[in-house]
Amino acid sequence: MSRNLHEADIDIGLTRRGFLKGCAIAAAALGLSDAMIPRLAEAAASAQRPPVVWLHFQECTGCTEALLRASHPDIGRLILSLISLDYHETVMAAAGKQAEDALEGTVKRYEGKFVCVVEGGIPTKDGGVYCKIGGRTAMDILKGVAPKAGAIIAIGTCATFGGIQAAMPNPTGAVGVRDLIHDRPIINISGCPPNPISFLGTVLNYLTFKRLPPTDQLGRPLFAYGRKIHDQCERRAHFDDGRYVERFGDEGHMNGYCLYKVGCKGPETFSNCPAVRFNDVEVWPVLAGHGCVGCTEPGFWDTMTPFYERLPGVKLPVGKGIVQGADSAGKKILAITAAAIGIHAAVGAGKKMAKKKDGRKTGQKTEETR
């Protein structure tokens, strides 16, 4: 399959039916009415396939895997037939010098027109030596390619916000594309991995309307990241009604109650997972009985852990030691305050008593000191 990818007119096995179905799914994800499906299909069928350069940096290739191995192959195929994938390390046939030439050729030939897709974080510490391809650092490659692209799509949380390798203490100084490139439009398709439909929707939007979709303040397209998971979740009725899973495997868990108390991060995570779901088999984490871990948010590895608690397990310096957890600190301060109040009141009472004894001897002294 990979051999055929950059040869424009070879059929990669997408049927008309599959094609239309893919367009319909994308239209639904984009929030367009079904009257728009023919327009999308038309644009998808006749569009000049934009040349795409797909850069891999610090990552696990999970985003590519999620895209290519959709159990229902139409989405992956549709994407691959919509774009002309000129450089993609995982699926390209070329290797070594040939591959580097393909990259260089595309960048030169389509300057200002090609789409640069970035997958993976970019290490910046120590001159960026922690990720090298063909002898060049990731930073160097990105700085060579990205400024010449017409648009940049950062796919996956690593490319958007640094991802897992950017977790504290971030030994390689990994950052997302938006931290390095500022003068090109960047669309952030975050997630670990993101839903292929969010990527497809962005590309189709670009082909149909000739512009990138509107985004939120973190550069994520609103059609996919405009709403919180919690506000679209099928367990929300249980949440509102106060029915929670207390422990994994308990009665509430078996009844499908809300996972809020076992650390579901749906209330602070923006994504379309509950609406679009994964792999065309209608699943997503909460449906499978596990809380959301908040993978589409910046710094999720630091702010969303522990995954089975409501709030981050912050270390607070209180007194001599380090107290683990915000609440134990709060309770300790509360206890100290209560103790302080008690001591203060006791001292006050003691003093009063002492004064009263004095007062009996020396007359109205207490009144006068006031």
Partner: protein
């Protein structure tokens, strides 16, 4: 010894105080429930407990915001005791009062400056509380309207992600618990130590002061 009745607090300030006090209690209870729902109901009990807690929390939040606005208004247009410069420790007179109050509270001395309005130590915490109340409303609004893009840019630049804002919101909850407790204690202590009628003054606005001969 002779006492006279003096007007200390205007009606708006007393109203502010009680709205602030009641909303803080309501916000603490409902907020803690939202954070860790300590009672839940199994299928069949249509209690709507979380939705209701959230609803009350949001309504109380708006009242709380209103109270903050009133207090800030009074800093500029209130009566003498309610104004900013009367007791905030920025003037030499108030800074002196601040330290005087601290040693008075620590039982080091019995002498202290008698004032009709607030003492400077109280006002210091009052200002901190007001500032944290503002942070509380901003993080609250950020979480309440996740789809609003201008609130999103405000939240991202001031607090970070929703989760970080939630953590800040939670920490400040602890401040409010401790503040409430300390405030009630200090008020009762003052009421016992001094015959000015501090507690009743927040209901009727009047204090008893020694008559100057």
């Amino acid at each position: 010894m002779d006492y006279e009745i003096k007007k200390a607090w205007g009606v708006l300030l007393r109203l502010f105080h009680w709205v602030y006090a009641i909303t803080i209690i309501v916000l603490l209870v409902t907020g803690y429930y939202i954070y860790r729902p300590w009672f839940g109901l199994y299928q069949g009990g249509a209690s709507f407990s979380m939705a209701l807690s959230r609803y009350i929390h949001f309504v109380a939040g708006y009242a709380f915001m209103g109270a903050i606005v009133v207090r800030i208004y009074l800093f500029f247009f209130g009566n003498r005791q309610e104004r900013f410069l009367d007791s905030v420790p920025v003037t030499p007179r108030n800074i002196k009062n601040l330290f005087g109050t601290v040693i008075y509270y620590l039982y080091i001395t019995d002498r202290h400056e008698e004032r009709l309005g607030h003492n400077a130590l109280f006002m210091l915490f009052y200002i901190i509380t007001l500032f944290l109340a503002l942070v509380q409303t901003l993080t609250g609004l950020y979480m309440l309207f996740p789809e609003n893009l201008s609130l999103q840019s405000m939240g991202l630049s001031l607090f970070g992600t929703q989760q970080e804002a939630r953590l800040i919101h939670h920490f400040i909850m602890w401040y409010f618990i401790i503040f409430t407790m300390t405030h009630v204690y200090i008020t009762i202590w003052n009421d016992i130590e001094m015959p000015e009628g501090l507690i009743s003054s927040i209901f009727n606005g009047k204090k008893f002061k020694t008559k100057k001969a």
